[in-house]
Amino acid sequence: MTAVSMLLVSLGVFFLVAGAVGLIRFPDFYTRMHAAGKCDTLGSLLVLTGLAVHQGLDLASVKLIIVAVLIFVTSPTATHAIARAATRNQVPWWTREGSR
């Protein structure tokens, strides 16, 4: 049980750090959104699920699952709202130099 939860938490931390690196390294707004939205949702979901597996079945783990479901619903919604605000205001896309 402990090994499974440690594996889940470590995977989640890997996804969170990878998302942060993508947030720094990608060249324009939409690619940064791509890194930030998905990696962040999956990473926090994995960390919270790993801690719930470690806790066993009681009130705290049920609350953890509720928080995980809340993040699973709200984080893509917030990402979509931000991306829609950028698209409506025509934030420019990244293109390779010389391709246009």
Binding site: L16, A20, A36, L64
Partner: protein, 94 residues
């Protein structure tokens, strides 16, 4: 799960938060900063839950994390709607 593992996990997530803070401080457009703030908020939720497990009273800290998730969501929605209406100034793409 040992306290050292929990502490290392929390420190790794805080390192990722400091990486995202770069994008908040130096984003070219206002909406890049908004993405950075949203990412930092999501990472903060996991750090709060890890702190609860580190102090061995997870129930209270999970409630705080739940509230933080709600506030983060409402804030991101409100700010994105505001900037959708108001307009985003954008200069160079990088």
């Amino acid at each position: 799960m040992s306290p050292a593992f929990l502490l290392g996990t929390a420190l790794a997530i805080l390192f990722a938060v400091s990486l995202s803070l770069y994008r908040v401080l130096r984003g070219p457009t206002i909406i890049d900063r908004l993405v950075g703030v949203n990412v930092i908020g999501t990472k903060t939720i996991t750090v709060i839950v890890l702190t609860g497990f580190l102090f061995e009273r997870p129930e209270f800290f999970i409630d705080i994390a739940f509230l933080y998730a709600l506030i983060n969501f409402i804030g991101a929605l409100a700010l994105s709607r505001y900037f959708e209406r108001k307009g985003v100034e954008h200069g160079a793409a990088r």
